[in-house]
Amino acid sequence: MESTILKSENFSAWFGENQVLKKINIEIPRNNIVAVMGPSGCGKTTFIRCVNRMHELTNDTHVEGTIFYTKNDIYKMDPIILRRFIGMVFQRPNPFPTMSIYQNVIAGYTLNGASLRKPEKDELVEDSLKKAALWDEVKDMLHRKGTFLSGGQQQRLCIARALAMKPEILLLDEPTSALDPISTAKIEELLFDLKKNYTLLIVTHNMQQAGRVSDKTAFFYLGELIEYNDTKEIFTNPKNEKTQNYITGRFG
């Protein structure tokens, strides 16, 4: 039996008066890729933003219920600490424009004021860029600005930046929606490799992508978790009518 790394219990979230997540109960097993899919506005992005407590950075938001990271209630943890265990990659590649590729990778450390020695930094940069399958493409220009790279490379740089923090979980918020098909394929391939060492939670509204990369799929609709099962099950034998309608393209 796989161990659970993340577990939500009756978790609800609000923007002002507007409830965007309704009593979500979900368990994420370690070293799995879990796809969170659903039509726009279904709360899937909000859900993963609650997992690393980014949701509360927006004014006038609140949550109820809890999420457990291993045995710890994340709403009792310091968000700063929590976010070091749970990395995040965003919809649009967002390397820091004032920093070089090298500096971007170790940004998590420099931001927190940690001082690493040069060999440590070099190793971390090489290691993270290799994990993000970007090393070969950028090893000769590590000190150029990260914003010179192509969109797909920038996104892999952002993945490297998140991996450099040595997280346990990686949250990916529609990581390929701003990218071309070739870059998308590269990132999907990469996700597959990352599974060995990390647990991945990926938001997507691209069903094919969910089908291709994930072990388990959660279908969200209007803030509710409609169905959660092995990806194969969801796509071949959905239990709920709404899921069925969504994957056959009747709405969404």
């Binding site: 980014m54 976010r83 995040m88 967002n94 998590g108 931001l111 927190n112």
Partner: protein, 300 residues
């Protein structure tokens, strides 16, 4: 209503054309005014430029009676007063800009603070002069006594303090705007890496807005260099090269305001105008550079 006949259409077209030409003319007129001001000052400074030459910029004595017109004391006075005012005001401008641009962007109080700071720029200069005279001068005089300096009260230090308050609105409003322009995706990226708010400000917001903050400071320097009334009232109006920041002095603007009415003799008057020309050129250059930076900032 339907515009059916051709006459009405012609009328409309004519009105449209007339309106556009009118606007163009107004714009052109302003350009001409700017140019004529420059030419007028230039022509009026010619006698002084011819008589004094380059020593206008390094001569240490300003003695109109002896026809000795060395402008260095005023150049130094202007520079020291403005830079001191910047040193005092910049930490406040950046703090207030961060507070209103990052921490406190919405709500009634935020608007109230923002407007009050902008209103600081609307207070007439002479009021600042009065406030300085009645509140600041006695205070500075006590300070000077306790430092066993000559207790003038007025001087560079006093003028700089008032000046620093006067220029704050100019840099705050620009700094606040560039800070609000920092893409939230960058801030979120930093937060997702476990950065605290202070770390986000220090390592993301400040580096990203560096040139914008620079432009804000530059524009307020432009204001400080040319500010006349309050400075004239508070700086002590001395012709002597200042030896410390408490000494009475004169800026280029204040010496013009002070001596213009009593300038007898062609060279004397012309020398004051040349001072104005120089001030005009310097502040124009500073403004152009500042605006260039802002333009570049808003593009990328």
């Amino acid at each position: 209503m339907q515009v059916s006949n051709t006459r009405q259409i012609k009328q409309l077209q004519f009105g449209e054309l007339f309106f556009r030409k009118g606007l163009a003319l107004s714009a052109l007129l302003l350009g001409i005014i700017l140019l004529s001001i420059f030419i007028t000052i230039l022509v009026a400074s010619l006698p002084s430029i011819k008589a004094i030459g380059i020593s206008f910029f390094y001569g240490k004595t300003w003695n109109p009676v002896e026809n000795d017109f060395g402008g260095l004391p005023f150049l130094i006075g202007t520079l020291v007063t403005s830079i001191l005012a910047l040193i005092i005001s910049v930490p406040f401008s950046i703090s207030v800009g961060l507070f209103l641009g990052e921490y406190f962007t919405k709500g009634f109080l935020s608007v109230f603070f923002k407007n009050s700071i902008e209103l600081l720029a609307a207070i007439p200069s002479v009021i600042y002069g009065f406030v300085g005279m009645f509140i600041l001068v006695p205070f500075v005089r006590d300070l000077e006594t306790s430092l066993s300096l000559p207790p003038y009260g007025v001087g560079i230090f006093t003028a700089s303090i008032i000046l620093s308050i006067m220029i704050i609105p100019y840099s705050v409003s620009l700094i606040r705007q560039v800070i609000m322009l920092v893409p939230s995706s960058l801030k979120e990226a930093a937060y997702s890496l476990g950065a605290t708010r202070y770390e986000v400000i220090k390592n993301i917001i400040i580096p990203y807005t560096r040139s914008g903050i620079g432009a804000g400071i530059l524009l307020s320097l432009g204001r400080a260099l040319g500010e006349t009334m309050a400075v004239t009232m508070l700086i002590g109006n001395s012709q002597i090269l200042p030896t410390n920041i408490f000494a009475p002095s004169n800026t280029m603007a204040s010496v013009i305001a002070n001596e213009f009415t009593e300038a007898t003799g062609d060279v004397y008057l012309s020398a004051l105008i040349e001072m104005g020309l120089f001030l005009f050129v310097v502040t124009t250059i500073i403004n152009v550079i500042g605006r260039q930076i802002i333009k570049r900032f808003s593009i990328d």
